[in-house]
Symmetry: C2
Subunit: 134 residues, 2 copies
C-alpha cells in the first residue's frame, strides 16, 4: 500500500493498527491504540504497536501529533487541519482551515528555508468545559 510516501507491507497487525486509527477521532496515544487493537488482535504486543505506528507514519498513512509533553498521539485524518486541545479535559478536536488560508506567507522565514510540514496546535478550553467553569 502506497499513498504519500514509501510502501508498507500491510500485514494483519499493521492493518489492524491502521483501522483502529481510521475509526477513532480522538487522537489516541500508543497505549490507547494498543488497548483497542487487542480487542480484535489479542496477541499483539505494545512493541508491535509502536513498530506499526512508526511504519504507518513514515509511509504517510497516519500522522504523529505532539500537543504536550508525554505521550505522542496519532491520527489518520490526512486532510490539512490543526488541532484544538482542551487544557481542562484533554480532548482534541480537528479544525479545518478556510479555503484561502496560506499560512506560510504570514511569517518572515529566512531566505532559502524549505518548509515541509506545519504543526499548529491551539490550546484553550472547549465549549463543554467552559460551561462548567462558570
Amino acid at each position: 500500500m502506497a499513498l504519500l510516501g514509501a510502501d508498507v507491507r500491510l500485514t494483519p497487525h499493521r492493518r489492524e493498527v491502521f483501522e483502529v486509527l481510521a475509526s477513532s477521532t480522538d487522537h489516541p496515544t500508543a497505549t490507547d491504540v494498543f488497548d483497542r487493537a487487542k480487542v480484535r488482535s489479542p496477541g499483539i504486543s505494545l512493541a508491535t504497536v509502536y513498530n506499526c505506528l512508526e511504519h504507518l507514519t513514515s509511509a504517510g498513512l497516519i500522522k504523529q501529533v505532539h500537543l504536550e509533553r508525554g505521550q505522542s498521539r496519532y491520527c489518520a485524518n490526512l486532510h490539512e487541519h490543526v488541532h484544538f486541545h482542551c487544557e481542562t479535559c484533554g480532548k482534541v478536536i480537528d479544525a479545518h482551515p478556510a479555503a484561502d488560508f496560506d499560512p506560510a506567507k504570514f511569517w518572515n522565514l529566512p531566505k532559502g528555508t524549505k518548509v515541509t510540514r506545519m504543526d499548529i496546535a491551539i490550546h484553550g478550553t472547549c465549549d463543554a468545559c467552559a460551561q462548567k467553569d462558570l
Copy 2:
C-alpha cells in the same frame, strides 16, 4: 516579580536560570540550561533547574516549547512568534508574524471554544542545510 501570570519569588537560582534563557536564542533544553547555569552557579542541581523552569513558565516569564518528542525546549522570547525547526541540523529559529496576522479567524473552531495559546511549529530545512544537500 510578576509580569503575565502569578508571582515568582526571584531567588538566585531562578534568576540564574532566567538569565541563561534570556541570553540564549537557541531554545535550550533543560539539560542545556543546566550546563550553562553551572558556569556561574556551580552548586545548582538538575532538579532545581526543572523546578525553576516550571515556576518561571507558570509565572509567564518563559515559554516551554514542544517541537518533537523527547526533550522540551524553553525560550524567553515573549513576543508572539512561531518556531521554525530544521529537521536536518535541529536548529530552531524564531519567526515573527506579519502585523495584520490574526490566526484564529482562519480556523472554524466549535462555538464556545476559548483560545488561550497557540503553538505553531514549521518543520523543514534551513538555508544552510539546504545548500549542503545539493
